[in-house]
Amino acid sequence: MLRSESEAELAFRREVRGWFERELPAELRDLTFRPLPDMVMPWYRKLSRQGWIAPHWPRAFGGMDASPVEQVILMEEAARIGAPEIPTQGLNQIGPILQRFGSDAQKEFHLPRILNGDAIWCQGYSEPGAGSDLASLRTAGSVEGDDVVVTGHKIWTTWGHHADWMYALVRTNKDVPKREGISFILIDMKSSGVLRRPIRTLADEFEFCEVFLDKVRVPRANIVGELNRGWTVATALLSQERLILGSPGNALRAYERLRRLARALGTRLSDSDKLMIAKARIELETLIASFLDAAEGFRDGRPVDSSYLKILSTETTQFILDAAQTVSGAYAGVKFPMDVDGTTIDFSELFLQSRRLSIYGGSNEIQRDLIARNVLAMPRGRA
């Protein structure tokens, strides 16, 4: 972050750094992979007890109500120390949605469990035939008494095989236009009829899974908003998700890889390496500036162009990791982290992971369509 920090912000940074240094176990630092729940949830709970698990949540719901600058400070310090990735679907996706659309009972039950780490969430949106074209989904639910009985097939469910709960889009009326017959439903993954199959990724780990739903009975009380009115909730969530995806967290983690590489290489850095690093730094700072601008604007009531942020943050992260690949030279394809003169360097894992960023959360192609139509007012027609 280029911006000069206030006394209070500097103090907060010192507090965060000191606490991270003290509290984050060595075995959880500098992991290149996303650690499994058993490994990472104790850290999640520690952050929760410290009050830092939900920086962007309002205090009323147990959040920190952190300023945009404080949020960046937390992300920078997490990147700096190499803090592990934690489950975020609860914190970033369903949590804020429940705050806005949830019933009192839903809020009361779920929000504390998200905060304290008792519930890991996943998103049940994509289906084999419904990716970018989300409204084509076919997972069907029929109301039977106080339950909705759900049958269908979700896929590319990030962290789904570790989740306790899924928020899913389910077609509850087939006789109306596509978007008018969808409900937004919270499904307990321990319900009978839920079957999960993890899927190996390009980065050679199990990042997501398929979820088969076979006559799963879900209480009607688990519908968020009204029956058949789920599309509104879903698009609100997508827009909010893009805003979160616009945060510089991933790019900061990426830049930290490059910074370590530069430190380890030292005098072996060539001039063209230095140029790559300068360019990466500029892109990173551009993203942080854009995030601060958008988040401060959002706080002040300005509308947020979330598609722009989603494109910017994902492509910045990819750019930085591409630069790291170049600087890695002959080692760019090395699979596991390596010790280089005392610094642990991940050459490929984060780079491979980064390829998904431009696909998920609404592909960057979809975002460009949205900008052309909604922001630039370019004509539809031969889209």
Partner: protein, 343 residues
Amino acid sequence: MSEIAGDQMLISDNVRRLFDASRALPRARAAAACWPDTDRTVLREFIEMGWLSLLLPEDDGGMGASAIDFVALIESLGDLLLPEPVGPMLATVSLLAACQSPAADRLLKAALGDERIVLAATEADRSLQGDTNHIVFDAHWADVVVFATGETEQFSLRAVAKIDVDGLDALVRNIDGGSLCSVRLDGSMGEELASGARARDIFMRCRNMQRLAAAASLLGLVRKSLQDAIDYVKLRRQFGVAVGSFQALQHRAATLHVACQSARALLYEAARTVGTANEAVACAAAKVKAADTAMAVVKESVQFHGAIGFSDEADVALFFRRAVALTAAYGTAEACHRTCFAG
């Protein structure tokens, strides 16, 4: 960031009135054709209305504007393609005020009157001519040139009357109607304004403000250039439909939109850093990002327009040439990258 504040709006409005858009672009086109442009009308009025003191503290009779105000003003005027380097001029006035020496005060008084002082871009930009060691942009407007020589303890910030320097009137013409002058300057010339580490800080601040100003001008002009291009493809029809309905163009327009928005966010973030530790890195980053964005936008604007975009009749030609000139001036990409890596 998105909106400029009341005061700057006022200044911007006044300048736009003084030099309104309907006259501005024809003037820019004419300046490129009848070169060099030596009509000082606008410049004189700008000075007479007291705007040179924009960045000076209110206690000293200035307008006490912040770097953010400065950037907002320059950006809002970008699409007018003003012939005068308003930003560098304002930055130079600040430099003189900061020196707090009799020589600088004398010049400051003259500048706030009717003299026009342009600062030599002495750092980082490679000179290509003979044994010259300094480059002065738009030297045809300058009466006095401020420049720096020497390192650390020997660092000397100096001013020299243009008339006293051999070759400072040997201008090379730029494609936007501006100019460039390579010249040999050394510590024996002109008079000293300040010296040592403090002088270096003052000089670097001025350099950073010039980079910011160039970035602001660039983003101001490409905002208009991109809007023109998008407006054009909405109207232009080929194959029975508006060209703007083609998805490939739409995605490219969206990419440019992302670049402009984010470069602008960086520009204002850089303005916030003025006076803090990150100033040099931030201003260098803002300049190179603005220049890259601007070149992408003006190239695509030409392409979006098709053949008419390659003619001088469309305004995009004016924006294109100014973007090239400003990209080259006040910190090349290489110089800015070097600052960013070092910082």
